[in-house]
Symmetry: C2
Subunit: 596 residues, 2 copies
């Protein structure tokens, strides 16, 4: 019953009108020749794939889930997933932003990010199969040996093989320093790995010929804790020197989790019984190597939630226009009907606009961030690359945590728009809520993201990275502050910027006295900074919309209305967050553990 229309127009707005992507790409040699038409054509085709191929499998995939044959340890994905994946591979989509040296198309990350938003709107569970693959590709591309690259990258690029990240064990998720899986060196330079992993997304399935597991384990001489973890690549089927598949490696799916959502993705318990692997990167430095994959994955999780926010919004709007119930408090708006469509009711609009603003703000931020990654990877000037990397480091936890928390709010609001029907499976809304819930947890819980932001990204360098981003805001405020029509946007932005500066130094001082103060304020702090970033992009969007309003294109009218809504109804959350962030950790620590 659900519908999905790829938001091509808003993606084009962000890419071409807000970020000037093609100009930015001109400075990056590998992308210098890309024009807007190419980008737009890929958007159209990608949107078509998402809407026509994977979206129709979303509800049925949720209903069926994955099945494990306990004898063969083989997993069957929901009906249609395999064929859709074959079509995805056939269309060359896995290769979109991969290295041409391994068969990739070498298109920019910012475009791939658009594709992933659409794929996640269409079907988050399905999209996790290629999504994890791309993560494995990046880890091997950065840290693999030449032989590993030759062996795995072409197949991961084409999508004929998929990838996983095997980190979590039953007793450790956040705290990987506790992990116990062991790797025994073999005479031939390979390793035999033994251990139990859980929560392995796309861990086993029937979509691809081979599955390339990236596994964290300890070498025999490993130091304790997180500094004694190494990364290994462990294929499901061993790869022969000629590239063909050899023996089945003893890495088995021993169970599938029964989850709240993302039923279409196989969340596997994995047992390694002396599975053969090779070392990726340096011994004992696996966590750092894995973090290449993890950082990409964190942005990917943000895209999952952006996708869910958008599709939930679209469906709730359609329902709110169609469903008639009660009269507007200010008098009938559809006097020819027995009641008004519920979109006339202010609170219904508030719920819809919340989802809309979170989608538009999230899209601007995440594409901005993706373009920074392109710059980090492909700009010839090292200072520019470093600057981009700093901004990516700062923004990654915000994309992950702010967008996923927002999607939880937004999808829940969109469900509420449907009234009782929102609670019924056939309407599809409750699946979006269930699917959205995992995004706040995996790839580092949102608490971990907030500690990463405040502790590692902000306080550890005395706010240097934050100041870099803040300078963009200061410049914008200075430039636009004199434009009367912009004041409604610039003034609250400038005000919030000042408050963030003040709050940051206050928290820095407090943390100096008591490290727990970071943990007490971090979650509130991340949301405040998230709003600052959103306010900046909404103000910039409003500037573009004001300039182009004369074109008569209602797109700009809507963009302005959404920006105004954002400043009036969502940004004020910061008033409370700043208060609670400032009220310190003491109210959290006062109660003795035994009294809980």
């Amino acid at each position: 019953m659900a519908t999905y229309t790829p938001p091509i127009r808003d993606m084009q707005f962000v890419m071409h009108e807000l970020l000037g992507v093609t100009d930015a790409l001109k400075a990056m040699p590998p992308h210098a020749e890309i024009d807007a038409d190419t980008l737009n054509a890929v958007l159209e085709e990608g949107g078509k794939f998402a809407a026509e191929v994977t979206f129709p499998l979303n509800a049925s995939g949720d209903e069926q889930g994955c099945t494990l044959d306990k004898t063969t340890h083989e997993v069957t994905a929901p009906k249609g997933f395999k064929a859709a994946y074959a079509q995805y591979v056939e269309g060359g989509w896995p290769a979109l932003s991969c290295d041409p040296a391994y068969g990739g198309q070498g298109l920019p990350i910012v475009l791939n990010q658009c594709l992933y938003e659409m794929l996640n709107s269409a079907n988050q569970a399905w999209t996790m199969y290629p999504g994890l693959t791309h993560g494995a590709y990046e880890a091997l591309h950065t840290h693999g040996t030449d032989e590993q690259k030759r062996t795995y990258l072409p197949k991961l690029t084409s999508g004929h093989w998929t990838g996983t990240m095997c980190l979590t064990e039953p007793h450790c998720g956040t705290d990987l320093g506790l992990l116990r899986s062991k790797a025994e060196p073999q005479a031939d330079g390979s390793y035999r790995i033994t251990g139990s992993k859980i929560f392995i997304s796309s861990g086993e399935h029937d979509l691809a010929e081979n599955i390339v597991h990236l596994v964290l384990a300890r070498l025999p001489d490993a130091p304790q804790g997180s500094k004694g973890i190494s990364l290994f690549v462990v294929p499901k089927f061993l790869v022969q020197p000629d590239g063909s598949l050899g023996a089945r490696n003893p890495i088995w799916c021993t169970g599938l989790e029964h989850k709240m959502g993302i039923h279409g993705n196989a969340t596997a318990q994995i047992s390694l019984d002396g599975a053969v692997g090779t070392l990726v990167g340096e011994p004992h430095k696996g966590l750092a190597a894995m973090f290449v994959m993890m950082n990409a994955a964190r942005l990917g999780v943000g895209m999952q939630s952006l996708g869910l926010t958008e599709v939930a919004y679209q469906n709730a709007v359609a329902y709110a226009k169609d469903r008639i119930q009660m009269r507007s408090l200010s008098g009938p708006k559809a006097p020819d009907k027995p009641a008004d469509p519920i979109i006339v009711h202010p609170d219904v609009r508030k719920m819809l606009l919340t989802a809309r603003a979170y989608a538009e703000g999230g899209r601007a931020l995440s594409l901005y961030c993706a373009l920074l990654i392109d710059r980090e990877l492909s700009h010839p000037d090292e200072a520019v690359r470093r600057d981009a990397a700093d901004q990516v480091a700062l923004l990654t936890p915000i994309v992950k945590a702010f967008l996923t928390d927002n999607a939880w709010l937004a999808t829940s609001h969109c469900l509420q728009v449907y009234g009782g029907h929102g609670y019924i499976r056939e309407w599809g809304m409750e699946q979006y809520v269930r699917d959205a819930r995992i995004n706040m947890i995996y790839e580092g819980t949102n608490t971990i993201q907030s500690l990463d932001l405040l502790g590692r990204k902000v306080l550890a360098d005395n706010g240097a990275k934050l100041k870099k981003f803040g300078q963009l805001i200061v410049d914008f405020v200075e430039e636009e502050g004199v434009v009367e029509a912009m004041q409604e946007f610039v003034n609250p932005l400038a005000d919030l910027g000042d408050k963030v500066t003040k709050l940051t130094s206050e928290l820095g001082m407090k943390a100096f006295g008591n490290a727990d103060e970071v943990g007490g304020a971090a979650v509130d702090y991340l949301r405040v900074v998230g709003h600052l970033v959103f306010a900046y992009f909404f103000a910039r969007s409003a500037k573009v919309a004001l300039e182009k309003q004369g074109t008569g294109d209602p797109f700009y009218t809507a963009k302005l209305a959404t920006a105004r809504f954002y400043f009036a109804k969502l940004l004020p959350e910061t008033a409370s967050l700043i208060r609670t962030a400032r009220s310190g950790v003491q109210p959290l620590l006062a109660m003795d553990e035994a009294l809980f």
Copy 2:
């Protein structure tokens, strides 16, 4: 894997130390003799029933759901539900607060409310079978004819028969004025009712001998809209003059909804094919009669969410004490272990304390409200009864909407405490989240509750009811404002009270100019008033706790810590809510419907 311990101590605190229930009951003739021991004994026994009989069926009931035999139209509840219900009936629990004239035990509502919190913690889906029954009992007790009372009340009181509310139709939920079911008068004074109902909780099942449906339908001469709706009682099996069951009435379950949660309760599609019913109350005044049931049901929904908040809290605490992961930022707290229990981390505590404070605040408010209902029903002084009724009218939408929104936040936080394990079914947390989601929707969506509060309960009488409650706060502030130890609680309470007064008159003025302003501000307004009410009860609780701290009972230390947490970390939400409430409806109405 989940556990549940009835929170008897906190219930006793609220009843005996905060509200002085037995003293209050002394003024009500039917309850004048009840002592604390009786109340405590019932609490103990009720808690035992919940924890031992229905709690073990919660996860399995969710897993199995209900099944409909499409040939016989009979529904089978999950395994164990029927036996548990038989034990519930056997124990006399349905009769607890029912009228002794019909076999009830005549105990106060405030006690029944405690029972319902515990039953809902244990198993919300199961509890809806007796819960709806109690609603049907109340509607018939208030509006039924003598014959209807004689026929139905003894069996509803004993629990041998259960009840339902048949309101919603596919095209109308909130807007019952649109409903189409028809009632044709018969020569014998009965009616033949025809129509389709959906979302009928406990609508068909195998727990009871008979099901007493209360059905809204239109008489042939009915005026259009909500003033043309009548209420009928339509039993599944017709009742013979001797009280025995006769023919099967043609009221059939034609389908069961597939829902996000509360799988153990049968949410039935009901078809009435000329089913025989009798009129309850006056013709065309069915909605008013149904509202007796509805108001009780709204408080009942608040208790469902209170129950879920409590049980989610308890489990998350157990997990947070047991699960070790990472070191405290301020240094190891469990140096003998490889990592600290996660309860040392400030944000984990924040999530736990949020759930705890919402449970404690919700318990104080809902038991206060229940005691008011006892007063409304049983106090000899009409002025006292009216005053109690006014307060109940004001507080009902707050109990319904504030407690259910809080439970959504709280259960989601508690899930998050578990990390990835929270997303896995076997741990039980994700079921609490799924079950909690419906409570924000049924018995009037939370938007409807907020419109009821701001439009009907506050602005319609120029704030008279609100002032009544406000006077309690003013008196308390005046009395306690001089006590130094109380100032940390009294000052923010007084401050918020002033702000609510100001906000209320501001919204009243605005609404005078544009009725849509009510719809634009109502949801924010309800949460602000909800916090005011919670702040009042936390301040009163703190007063008791401060007085009794000398006893050395750690219960009071914990109560104080929770109150302080509430004032530091939850109440500040009002800063944002007041801003957004004041920013008006214009940002919500500005965008043209076509641009969404």
